[in-house]
Symmetry: C2
Subunit: 346 residues, 2 copies
DNA sequence: GATTCGAATCGAACTGGTTCGACAGTAGAG
DNA sequence: CTCTACTGTCGAACCAGTTCGATTCGAATC
């Protein structure tokens, strides 16, 4: 394996000159520069990452800390992961994937061994136990998911409050006046999944403003529970004409639930969800939905992280909280309410 | 940040002694060992990963190279990824996730910069362009997915031929004599997804042996195409009583397709798929299926890789091709054929 | 013609670990 | 009582880069 010493020898210069020729950190004569480049090419030289990291205190690697929880919707996670890793690569960074369930220990280990230049945290909880440590360490951190206290870190998330409002608006505008919101299970909230109640509160507030009835429920996040839950809610509110889904499993299960009752959207009921476009395509979900923008959020987090890593630490910008605004992918599952249902008796 | 020099000073010994006390590579008096350990604790010392990598030529990191293709079933990929990363961590390794679409370039870069100790390749193609390079480089590699020529690497995959046979057997044993197999799209095969025809050939051979009629189709891997495809095949073969699915999107779409035609499994048709258990749970798929054993394959690949990394290079074991045998998760979607259908006319 | 400046290059030091060889001290063998 | 062997420790070298300071040389300035 060729070292920079071999390159220098082949080009007839000293190691330092070869280094400067490659980094451009000092002026080097064109003739020498070309000789060094030729030697690099000929020997197939690639700098040793460990040695470079040691000398520069930069690893060109970021860590991606996820929390992969059984009862949350794991497949949706992949979108975030790829968004992060692809953006990182474009910026010249590699991504260390950490699925360690003990996030705090992982953070400590990677930070103090100086394996990475920064951290991206996924699925951040309302009171995330990784956050105090993240604020203390030398490497910057960017979060996907809004914590209760976003001080000292950069935060990127979907605006779930605005999303809840937008979902109600979309159905209200089509003429619906009685709605059902199906959220993630209660214990996802208990564990710190604040996005659940943020969306629910946004929807509730908007419904209140508009004088719309909104029934709110938590539901299971997998079958067969979720199928039963959906059927139950539809039974309980026969006059409801609009359905809001903030629960991927509910979206996946709804087509068969509707089919089993001989219903379809938007003829019998209008539906709006909140999930990623890729998810919709994969599972052929025919429902209009607010795009959860997973890849965009991952990408934004990395961009910000890299700019902090490479930026002048003295001229540090203030930390940002960036909530991206909801965008509805219209798949035609919202229409005027069915007159039959509106006239239904309880 | 404390270095081993700081630790040595605090313990009143030389740097080398501190190093030996921590690594155990030479005998050290108990008294000194305890003083060093105390100093480590007190200073919060963690070895610098770059320095260690430089000195030992070991990074304690493996690279995970995926091919994340839009038209393959991305969410299923996460199972493999987590299987790899969790097993790696248990063995003391971190995982570098490489989603770079140019796998060859990534392999070259990571190998020659000595960023990782070994490679795990996912979604390996029949003639995978990363393989020749992988055989050449100094770091060992383990594959998930069986290539045409598995020389010089360790390979782990589901036995797709046996899986195809097992699927036919399961339906034959229940009394079915006319079956339909729905595979991944043609272009997945063209790109090197050999598992598609391996399973198809296994099923065909077994069907021939048993004298069973088997209609084989490629189908789309997303909606709305896959829904239309399924309906079409059911129309074309009204006397077929058993359905084999080697296409995750087909499995996801089937419940609504069946519901739309007023059919259900296993009453009107028996169904067996091939997908992961996690996938089935997430999407509430009620079909019996051969578990694709994603996490197990990922785990096995890492175990083998680590043993090669840490093993004596002189006493190198021969490379293995390990095909794990299919296991059917019975979800009750196979029963005796419906007499109505068997008597149906074309 | 001496002085100053900048460009181009080199040598040495530094990053933070591991490991080899040497050496002192002690215990056991002969 | 000497010789050998072993244990415990230290200093120095090494891994492969980057960077600081010094030096040389030619051109421009006064």
């Amino acid at each position: 394996m060729a070292t920079i010493g071999d390159v220098a020898k082949a080009a007839g210069v000293s190691r330092s000159t070869a280094s400067y020729a490659l980094s451009g950190n000092r002026s080097i004569s064109e003739a020498v520069r070309l000789r060094v480049l030729a030697a690099v090419e000929e020997l197939g030289y690639t700098p040793n990452a460990g040695a470079r990291a040691l000398a520069t205190s930069r690893t060109k690697t970021i860590a991606l800390l996820g929390r992969f929880l059984d009862d949350e919707f794991a497949p949706a996670m992949l979108q975030y992961i790829l968004g992060v890793s692809e953006t990182a690569r474009k910026k010249g960074y590699d991504t260390l994937l950490v699925s360690d369930e003990n996030g705090v220990a992982a953070l400590k280990r990677l930070s103090s061994s100086r394996m990475v230049d920064g951290f991206v945290l996924l699925n951040v909880a309302e009171r995330d136990d990784r956050l105090p440590l993240l604020r203390d360490i030398r490497q910057p951190g960017a979060l996907v998911g809004l914590p209760g206290d976003p001080d000292g870190v950069d935060v990127f998330d979907l605006d779930f409050v605005a999303s809840g409002r937008a979902m109600v608006d979309a159905l209200y505008d089509a003429g619906h006046r009685e709605l059902v919101l199906v959220s993630q299970p209660e214990h996802v909230v208990a564990r710190g999944g604040a996005y659940v109640w943020r969306l629910a509160n946004g929807a509730r507030d908007r419904a209140d403003e508009l004088g719309v009835t909104l029934h709110r429920y938590h539901a299971h996040s997998s079958q067969p529970g979720i199928g039963r839950d959906l059927a139950d809610y539809l039974d309980r509110h026969p006059r409801a004409t609009g359905l809001l889904l903030n629960n991927e499993a509910a979206a996946a299960a709804l087509p068969s639930v509707l089919a089993a009752r001989g219903m379809s959207a938007p003829e019998d009921i209008s539906v709006i969800g909140r999930y990623s476009d890729a998810f919709a395509r994969t599972f052929s979900l025919p429902f209009s939905a607010i795009d959860s923008a997973a890849d965009e959020l991952g990408a934004r987090a990395v961009q910000q992280l890299v700019s902090r890593i490479e930026g002048d630490p003295d001229a540090a910008k203030p930390h940002t909280v960036e909530l991206i605004q909801p965008r509805i992918d219209d798949r035609g599952s919202i229409a005027a309410p069915s007159p039959a249902r509106m006239g239904a008796t309880h």
